[in-house]
Symmetry: C2
Subunit: 234 residues, 2 copies
Amino acid sequence: MGDLELKPAHGAAQDAGTPRGRRRGGGGALRIPQPTIERLSTYLQCLRQLERTGVATASSADIAERTGINAAQFRKDLSYFGDLGTPGLGYDVPKLQAHLSHAMGLREPHNTVLVGTGNLGAALAAYSGFRDRGFSIVALFDADPDKLGQVINGLIVQDPDLLPKLNADLRADIGIICVPAASAQIVVDKLVAAGIRAILNFAPITISVRTGIIVRNVDLTSELEVLSYYLRAK
Amino acid sequence: MGDLELKPAHGAAQDAGTPRGRRRGGGGALRIPQPTIERLSTYLQCLRQLERTGVATASSADIAERTGINAAQFRKDLSYFGDLGTPGLGYDVPKLQAHLSHAMGLREPHNTVLVGTGNLGAALAAYSGFRDRGFSIVALFDADPDKLGQVINGLIVQDPDLLPKLNADLRADIGIICVPAASAQIVVDKLVAAGIRAILNFAPITISVRTGIIVRNVDLTSELEVLSYYLRAK
DNA sequence: GTCTGTGAACGAATTCACAGCT
DNA sequence: AGCTGTGAATTCGTTCACAGAC
């Protein structure tokens, strides 16, 4: 009671507690369903590829064929963002790509910090795909004294206790957690104290954050367990 | 036309085309919603931890508090599997854990093969969490001649063309794809040809599989993009 | 009194189907 | 004719609320 309202964050992305969500800020743009946001990223992936191939125009049916997402679904998803297509013709690929990128906040790059430089953490730190899409990892942290000072992909592994101090300069808004389950909550608290507002959590445990902090969980073993379910009984 | 019915697999897990899904096989056990299956894995995570801590019994409210999932949701999810709790008391933790493990097909271990031993692939190959939970990676593949013969975590990196031959012995049913987007579909086809029935795809592209093959996509950049969306406008 | 299991109510998301623009 | 944008219909999932078990 009265200790600042912590909440276990379940589900893909959870802003731990927007009341029951009607509109945003002062404006009035209506709330967009989370499944739509997730598909947007898929559309972008597809559009970037079409752009690379030099395709100028695509219909909702074209996109549907390439992504496996229903064409009506695609059009409905886009309708949240205004009239982006041309009846009889389809969508201008580069224009749509730019528009969606903007809508997703991908116009300017995001700085991220990563905590936990074990196998997975080190691999992500070295993964170029993040930077290519505008997510730069700008600092690495690990509580293990053996790892401190180690250099991975040009970044020095530092003490997580330095997070608040260092992030005052770095201004990262996303934190990636790759520590064991047992230390995940401690790390979460340090990230939040450092001003991090969004967390990508790879630790296989439910973490708690205060209202306004966004959490997304990726549990790799869980993914395999779901596959196992669909494999069973045969 | 007529080339054996390929389908882009969108969404978390997709058995590419069960008609419109009423019941399964001959039995009659009713279809369980995919969100339920995904939460089951979360419950298991929680139950294993409770078990380690020596907690013998937990109510749906206890689980709700720990996982952030609504208590009624938990009870409804479990109700698909029969009466597992005791009114007035709650759930027997070890018993429920065992029952859910069984229901998810986690009773005996699964063999998996991993294709693509770049940063991410190598990290997953070395990750002990998979084996601990019954998913053993039993073979590694990479088309890059420089990587062939390399040893990672005790396994030799082999040519993906050997997949069908080798998997005749290995009998893996799950394949993990960690190759670049450009080669993902080729790898998918080789995995399926080798008898793999479920795929965990880390390549940021939509892959196509024939009916009956289960695909789950994990797109790490997409996860960051979704966070970006919720960070924008502030 | 406590807590489960579940029908019923509700709410959310997908898909249909068509009016209207090019 | 071709394709978008969208209200209406449908399907699906969640939450409520309570009867019944302990």
